[in-house]
Amino acid sequence: MARTTPEINGGSLADIAFLLLIFFLVTTTMNVDTGLARMLPPMPEDKNQDTQQDVKQRNIFTVLINKSDRLLVEDQPMDIGMLREKTKEFIMNPQNDTDLPEKQTVEVEYFGNVEVGKGVISLQNDRGTSYRMYMLVQNELVAAVNELREQVARGKFGKSYNDLPEDQQKAVQKVIPQRISEAEPKSVGGKK
């Protein structure tokens, strides 16, 4: 009788696989990195050159944060909860207020000729401002822009902004531009 090698029992295969599975389950970090995406302005070529662009006062929305995390918006102290509404009002300028930004007519795909505000949001902070406050303000500003884009997308395409195809998103971005300028750092409130 020929001796056959006994078959290896495959029952423990599952156990081995389980062991590996548990190892990877434990070591896995499924963190998707999230954050506020932002573009920094390029460094000015010539240092002596005055890069202060001539922007009309009515077109600038100044947001100052001081070292004790207080807000000064358009020369008025403001609570963080109000900032979003105020920013939206600034961007849209619904009543064509002369204190709020000018508009220019731009031709945008899907929309035809639309009036787009020329406003720029200028965010300035002190060296002593806490990062938490800074992010809160950034978040409110971005939220204001996003809410307006959502509104436009709903009104025009009947869909949420995030569900639009890329070219339509681009068009909405042109109608509601996100212009947040982080000013050149100024040393105010003394060196730290």
Binding site: G10, L13, A14, A17, F18, L20, L21, F24, L25, T27, T28, T29, M30, V32, D33, T34, G35, L36, A37, R38, M39, L40, P41, P42, M43, N125, D126, R127, G128, T129, S130, Y131, R132, Y134, M135, L136, Q138, N139, V142, A143, N146, E182, P185, K192
Partner: protein, 157 residues
């Protein structure tokens, strides 16, 4: 036409567990692929601020990280409690950022270099002074695409 016949026996047949390893392997592969083992050890404490308008960072390979925060307890004897910058595996100063960015850029293929994103992981109690300095350095290094890392917070309404 074949007939469907009951084969005498009654009662539930035992469920075959032969496919159990396959299922487990499937899960195993899923976790193996989605796993990212933490490459850098953190020397600074980082508690990210919360934000509602966060976007996902695409393409992990194009992202380089800058950590800013107070040093962890065991390093506070040497480095104090003021916020410090960590690049890769050590404490660095502002002047090192440019080298760091250029080496990160070297590591990418030429086509991808323009898409280099710098993710700033900053402790929420940090003062803006150091953050502004880092941002200026990044501008000098023309690494303009940045992302302020933050945790997703549900909208309070």
């Amino acid at each position: 036409m074949a007939k469907f016949e009951r084969k005498g026996k009654k009662g539930m047949p035992a469920i075959s567990t032969a496919s159990l390893p396959d299922i487990v392997f499937m899960l195993l592969f899923f976790f193996m692929v989605s796993t990212t083992l933490r490459e850098t050890e953190l020397f600074v404490r980082i508690k990210l601020p919360e934000a509602t308008e966060v976007v996902k960072l695409e393409k992990k390979s194009l992202v380089s990280y800058i950590y800013i925060g107070p040093p962890a307890t065991q390093y506070q004897k040497v480095f104090g409690t003021d916020s410090r910058i960590q690049l890769n595996d050590s404490f660095k100063t502002l002047v090192d950022i440019r080298d760091f960015i250029s080496s990160e850029r070297e590591a990418l293929s030429e086509a991808d270099r323009a898409f280099l994103t710098t993710s700033l992981k900053i402790h929420e109690e940090t003062r803006m002074g150091i953050v502004t300095d880092v941002k200026q350095e990044l501008r000098k290094a023309s690494a303009l695409k940045i992302s302020y890392a933050s945790r997703r917070m549900e909208q309070k309404k």
